[in-house]
Symmetry: C2
Subunit: 353 residues, 2 copies
């Protein structure tokens, strides 16, 4: 007899925050990055498909499933840039990890916070073989909900110590600088993107507008930098001028998805790109020389969420940082779903009315 077949552990927002703080943000990012890298290295073990997107006037709702032979994971995520006007998040998410052998979910969790962490961890995983050697200074253009996570991932995994922050809204920059104060960074707040990129070894673009935008123009990108382009992640939403792409070596997660959603939607469908898993397994080169411009055209892929789900599943054990959801019908006899319903009217031990 297997106990509690009806129960699925659920990690709420509050529990996720407690889990992250208990582990420590930088350690969490480092361990999560290791899971993400491990899963990219076994790329062929995964059943991969572009995310299933439902677009509307104000945004998009997406399902991002993937599986290896043992687990299946998916994330529900929305992107609604106008949400912030009414106090809502642009991006919210939750996800589920399941057992492939039975189809039963084994974890449900909030993924709004977890997505910010996994996106930052993935950026750092990509930057390790792509960023210039000894990079210490990063520009962050777009200082919204994801910016601090990016900063800490690059501190923990690449040794970034100097940040140059810019956002069209100075309040966002002030918020980012305030949140990161005392965490070991030297922070410069800048009045333009042009100013922010001066002297930066790595340029992270992480803006939220759902439109074709030009956060970086060609003249702003000097030889040798690594661009971590995070914000351009759906059809019609890009951040970089096309000319930058033509000067860069471009690295992507999963081409069938990135060609639709990433910066490279500006380029012909057969424009050469290198897949991140190829670099991480040694099948392709990362950075070749000091003058090369490398571009990680990040859109976020389902395997990264899978990695995050399995990491959280392992980390919550013994912490009590989850609720038990009565989510799966569990009749005494599997074929007797209706009997279970009937008996709910008079549970064992109840006195008949």
């Amino acid at each position: 007899m297997i106990p509690n077949l009806n129960i699925v552990p659920f990690v709420s927002v509050d529990h996720m925050m407690k889990l992250v703080l208990k582990i420590g943000v930088e350690r969490f990012l480092t361990e999560l990055a290791a899971c993400i890298e491990e899963d990219f290295r076994r790329w062929h073990a995964f059943d991969k498909t572009p995310r299933v997107a439902s677009h509307s006037a104000d945004g998009v709702i997406e399902l991002m499933p993937t599986s290896d032979s043992r687990n299946y994971g998916f994330k529900y995520v929305n992107g609604h840039p106008k949400n912030t006007r009414e106090g809502r998040q642009t991006v919210t998410a939750f996800g589920v990890l399941s057992d492939v052998a039975t189809g039963y979910p084994v974890l449900m969790t909030e993924m709004t916070i977890l997505t910010a962490l996994r996106t930052a961890a993935t950026s750092a995983v990509a930057a390790k073989p792509l960023a210039p050697r000894g990079a210490t200074c990063m520009a962050i253009i777009g200082n919204g909900a994801q910016s601090e996570f990016q900063a800490l991932a690059f501190k923990a995994l690449l040794g970034i110590r100097e940040l140059r922050l810019y956002d069209i809204d100075p309040d966002a920059t002030a918020k980012c600088a305030r949140n990161l104060a005392g965490m070991g960074f030297s922070i410069t707040t800048c009045r333009s993107a042009q100013e922010a990129v001066e002297g930066a070894h790595i340029i992270t673009t992480v803006t939220a507008d759902k439109q074709y935008a030009t956060i970086l123009t060609d003249n702003m990108v000097g030889a040798g930098v690594h661009i971590n382009a995070v914000g351009g992640d759906c059809p019609g939403k890009t951040e970089l001028h096309r000319d930058i792409l033509l000067r860069s070596d471009i690295f992507v997660e999963y081409p069938p998805q990135t060609r639709i959603e990433g910066e490279i939607q500006q380029l012909p469908a057969d424009y050469p790109v290198t897949e991140l898993w190829q670099v991480l397994t040694g099948a392709a080169e990362g950075r070749r020389d000091a003058r090369q411009i490398t571009l990680f055209d990040s859109v976020g892929f389902a395997t990264e969420d899978f990695s995050a789900l399995r990491y959280v599943r392992d980390q919550i054990v013994g912490t009590g940082l989850y609720q038990e959801l009565d989510m799966l019908a569990d009749p005494d006899e599997p074929r007797d779903l209706f009997g279970m319903l009937l008996r709910a009217a008079s549970p064992p031990g109840a006195v008949a009315a």
Copy 2:
């Protein structure tokens, strides 16, 4: 200020059972059928896609999304026939309804019980224009978890009063007959499928084996019957001999999905079928004459789950039959996700350690 932006109402298995019993099974099925029919009648309002299936050796895990301009819904559902050996359900499910304008989920619910109800309600919606006039007797071949729901839907919506039950496992038949005792049926338990179909106006096949099976052979199906084929619902899983299909007029939910998953996977890809929405809107004929064999090749479509989700959302109001899940991160300032995380370390009112 919108209160409780972090909260999503969750209907557990226990709450779903209480809700169904409070409303009454037959009334629930009748009202749900009305929602399903209403949504089929506005077929073109929906964003439709075949479900996204992940197949493995032992089963399948599927995501079934759809949306109209106001709401988005999806269901997670598995199908693992061997599960029952270890006390698990063959099919479990849960689903989410969201607001298209914000992407925020507005309901999460168990859907194992709800799927059995919506499948039965859909069968009855299809049978109304397809079954022979004045049908009172239904054979049910396959007496597992879904059989009683089918019986009650056909009682409530079509006036079925006589049931002829058969399953390869006599215990399943006994269970079904026991559960339906005293509910207004005349029940005959049969020793073969051949015996079960004798005199039946409607034949419901709802078996669970994941393989090509022949629950009905051609000689068993007489003129004028309506076949409600529910069990054949994924690639490689069918219930009817191909010759029956060739003698029938075939009605389906969504051809791109049914051609992959339904009985008609046995037929050429251009074999003519009629879509259920066409019949329900009057764009196509249902039953034309008393000798015609009609076949509803049911596989289950996302709009039916959408209908079920919106029905449950409306029904739980004021009942207390849900929990409030802390599922969406809700920082005071939307762009300050990281600040919310930091402040979780020292909540307002807490004394600094």
